[in-house]
Amino acid sequence: MSTNAVQEFRKSLSAADVESTVVTCDGVDDALLAAIERPAVGAPLPFDDHSLSGLPVTVDPSPSDVRDAVTGVTGSRLGISSLGTVAVESRSGGDEFVSLYPERHVVVLRERDIEPDLSSAFDWLSTEFEAGRESLVFATGPSATGDMGALVQGVHGPETVHVVVVTDDE
């Protein structure tokens, strides 16, 4: 995946009203610290080389923690470059609640997991289905509604979304 893909992805994120930062492997913790507004809850990141330990993020939270959190942190194993989409998988770590309740959703995503478009994302999804991972949400931008007479962001889901893109090591 080239740097162009990251640029294209960030452009799409921006068009979907999503903030983003790009960091190397070493910069993830700092980027998360900067992106998080406390209190924060999180779901375990689905990556071997990154975790939320050491960060002010409550993992395995109580229902009250989930309700009171301003930020929810999850990891995504998929990004869609042309759309600015990330995935929220149904996992036992509670990614779905963590990404839905707090008004801010912070996503960690690796550059290598960025797919160019929805078509290739569906190829990826087919492989996931074959592996028995069959529940997820393609999430693009904050939750939104036009039902109250004007476009409003932040309805039953987050009002702001921030993606931390971790570049691949050379």
Binding site: D60, P61, S62, P63, S64, D65, V66, R67, S82, L83, T85, S90, R91, S92, G94, D95, E96, F97, L100, L118, S119, F122, L125, S126, F129, E134, S135, L136, V137, F138, A139, T140, G141, P142, S143, A144, T145, G146, D147, M148, G149, A150, L151, V152, G154, V155, H156, G157, P158
Partner: protein
């Protein structure tokens, strides 16, 4: 605001006043965003997804019994339950039992038209449960106790101010809810508490994936995600037609559905869920226990697949297509009538817009469809808008035909049988037979002109026409010409006319032989555009004939008189076939007739007859464009000198992609062309003449007139459009070919 109990015209007027402005604003925004989204996706790529989606739906409905079984096996293997409900009561009973089994106090729902269809909320509430709609649009109409006005935006007929008033009255909040932000925040908090307390979550399903037992949900607010994951018990209610084979077949629909609906490349949230999901149950009764309350509750999933008339629709060759519908609302947004009145007029018990005719006819019956079916004028603007290529106007025509046949014969038939030479059964309403037999009227009117015109404009006659036929007295009737277009052409051929046929132009070397089709309007009413067509084609080197050939069947078809239309189509095909066989091209002036030849004749003629005529027929400016492209001399035509021309193409012409030829020819001849972007003029053949729809027709036409205000030269391709523009703007609207006329052509 309470609804009046008045006849159809009054109700439409009331809706135009009370809901029209808001509906117009919202549907036109969706519609414009759809066009932009298709453009951004690339029209060819988008079309490829449409074809793919269409193929998947055709195949899935064909194999529906197998797919239902596969879905059952997959869901049950995952630990869930599938219930196939025969009808609404069966489905209600099942869901009520599930709710009773878990002693549910609170049930939360995400948006589902299918649960609207079965009136599920009433049943659950009757059992003493609290039911909350969590989609904000559904929440608004739940509070207002209204029905949805649109498949996608159920409350889009209400302005922000109206919602503020509604909520402040209903909830008596401490602070004013005088902005969309405050309303949203209030609803989020109010509904959030109820979602957290809910025992059962009910969702619909945009798609059901048979192989994996998954459901796909398309939402923007995030409420469906909550309804599907928060309560331990999740019930998804979906029509059986929502099943597609597998996750791979979901892809084209994911590309299409939000673009078609709201112009979004993808929704905020596209959920693909295969219950029971791994997301842990959350227990708000144990607020301080980590691990989401450490609940040991088991997740329970029920998929209710609703038949309720769908299997019969599947067996019905004409209604089957309705089952391909993915409920995007594009047919409503692209419909000029819908943009003015919305789904409270253009809709049935549950569904709204053009496709609602198919749904309501199949689910509720013809009586329900009959209440709004006439609002489809057959303008065909929804045809290209539909992401699964459903021929929505055809469904409306078929249902209209069935309604005609189903009605009890009244005394009117005795009156007109014999006067109207159609093949329709007794029972077809008199007004429909009157408009459906316009060709006969025109022939009689022309033969007796100018007396017929004088009589027809005589006030007592108009009063009688209004009371008996429902022809609105505020409309000017067409003025019939004593000398028809064909009379004129015959006279020229026999040499008795001073206007000399110049024969093929040696300069161009094209030597095309052309049949100009003398459609009913060109032949009897707007003869000038026929004459201009002949002179333009001759100037470009064509040999032109105007044979004796009858009406295309458009008029009867638009009234749902399919047998008569087929009869006309066969006659036209028979008359023109020898010309086509000899190499003549067929040039058509009236756009609604070229649309017959190219679109509807496919349903009315044998494939061979249809193909022959469709391939050799051209709209007049399309043909002129082709001649000029192949070297015919543009300087043989009357030209402009940079002056502005306001051009309204015809709805059916635009559906065939034929407006750009007129634009290109006028531009090449030196005109500065401005084309309208409204979907339809609102006249739509007979529609604007009908008393019930006069106000609606004028409301739709006003949008067009506004775009052309101040234009000195106005041209329009269709007869109806010209009549509407003449009535609303100025009485000088012409057909574009008249600007090109080397004899009469004048610029502005």
């Amino acid at each position: 605001m309470s609804e009046p109990d008045r006849p159809k015209a009054d109700r439409i007027r009331w809706l135009l006043d009370s809901e029209g402005a808001q509906i117009k604003k919202n549907t036109r925004l969706f519609n414009a965003q759809r066009y932009d989204a298709v453009e951004a996706a690339g029209p060819e790529q988008y079309q490829a997804y449409r074809s793919q989606a269409r193929g998947i739906k055709e195949d899935a409905i064909e194999r529906l019994p197998t797919l239902v079984e596969r879905t059952k096996r997959a869901v049950e293997a995952n630990g869930g339950t599938v219930y196939v409900a025969d009808d609404a009561e069966d489905a209600r009973q099942y869901v009520a039992t599930v709710a009773a089994d878990c002693e549910a106090e609170t049930v939360v729902k995400s948006k589902s038209m299918t649960t609207e269809e079965i009136d599920l909320n009433d049943r659950l509430e009757a059992d003493g449960r609290q039911v909350w709609e969590t989609d904000l649009g559904e929440f608004v109409i739940q509070v207002a106790d209204e029905t949805p006005s649109h498949i996608v935006g159920p409350s889009l007929h209400r302005s922000r101010e109206e919602i503020t008033e509604l909520f402040e009255t209903h909830f008596d909040p401490e602070e004013s809810l005088d902005s969309a932000e405050k309303l949203t925040a209030f609803a989020r908090s109010f509904l959030g508490e109820r979602i957290d307390d809910a025992d059962v979550g009910i969702t619909g399903a945009n798609f059901v994936l048979a192989d994996s037992g998954s459901i796909a949900l398309v939402t923007n607010e995030g409420n469906a995600r909550k309804c599907a994951s928060l309560p331990d018990t999740h019930v998804a209610v979906a029509g059986i037609e929502k099943i597609i084979p597998d996750v791979e077949s979901l892809h084209p629909f994911a590309e299409l559905i939000s673009r078609a609906a709201t112009g979004q490349a993808i929704p905020q949230y596209l959920s693909v869920l295969t219950p029971p999901v791994d997301t842990p149950a959350i227990d708000f009764d144990a607020p301080d226990i980590s691990g989401f309350g450490d609940s040991d509750a088991e997740r329970d999933f029920h998929l209710v697949l609703l038949d309720n008339g769908r299997r019969e629709m599947r067996d019905d060759d004409e209604l089957r297509e309705t089952l391909y519908c993915i409920r995007c609302g594009a047919c409503a947004n692209s419909c000029a009538n819908f943009q003015s009145v919305g789904g409270h007029a253009f809709g049935g018990e549950t569904y709204t817009g053009g496709i609602a005719t198919g749904w309501e006819a199949g689910i509720e019956g013809l009586d329900t469809a009959a209440e709004f079916n006439d609002l489809c004028t057959g303008c065909s603007r929804c045809v290209n808008a539909c992401p699964v290529e459903i021929d929505i106007p055809w469904i409306n025509t078929v249902v209209r035909d069935r309604i005609n046949r189903g009605e009890d014969p009244g005394f009117e038939d005795v009156l007109v049988d014999g006067l109207v030479p159609d093949d329709e059964p007794r029972g077809t309403p008199l007004q429909k037979r009157f408009f459906g037999n316009f060709e006969t009227l025109a022939r009689l009117g022309s033969a007796t002109a100018p007396v017929s015109n004088t009589v027809a404009s005589f006030a007592p006659v108009r009063t009688l026409m209004e009371s008996v036929l429902g022809v609105d007295a505020r409309r000017d009737l067409p003025t019939f010409e004593r000398t028809t277009f064909r009379d004129w052409a015959d006279a020229r051929d026999s040499g008795s006319n001073s206007d000399v046929n110049q024969g093929p132009d040696p300069k161009s070397g094209l030597n095309r032989r052309v049949v100009v089709y003398p459609d009913v309007y060109t032949n009897y009413v707007q003869t000038g555009r026929g004459k201009a067509t002949v002179r333009v084609l001759e100037a470009l080197g064509c040999e032109v004939v105007v044979p004796a050939v009858g009406g295309s069947g458009r008029a009867p078809l638009s009234q749902g008189m399919i047998a008569t239309a087929r009869d006309r189509a066969e006659s036209v095909s028979e008359t023109l076939a020898p010309y086509v066989a000899e190499g003549y091209d067929v040039v058509v002036v009236e756009p609604s007739d070229i649309a017959m030849f190219r679109r509807e004749y496919e349903k009315l003629l044998s494939p061979a007859d249809y193909g022959r005529l469709a391939e050799e027929s051209y709209e007049v400016l399309e043909y002129v464009y082709g001649l000029l492209e192949h070297g015919a001399p543009a300087d043989a035509l009357s030209a402009g000198h940079g002056e502005g021309v306001a051009y309204h193409s015809h709805c059916q012409q635009r559906t065939l992609g034929l407006e750009r030829h007129t634009e290109a020819v006028l531009a090449e001849l030196g005109y500065d062309v401005t084309t309208s972007d409204v979907e339809c003029c609102g006249m739509a053949g007979s529609f604007g003449y009908k008393s019930d729809y006069y106000d609606l027709s004028v409301d739709v036409g006003d949008s067009l007139a506004e775009q052309f205000a101040g234009a000195s030269t106005v041209v329009a391709s269709g007869t109806s459009c010209i009549e509407q523009l003449d009535a609303l703007l100025s009485p000088e609207t012409r057909h574009p070919v008249e600007l090109l006329d080397p004899v009469e052509g004048v610029s502005g």
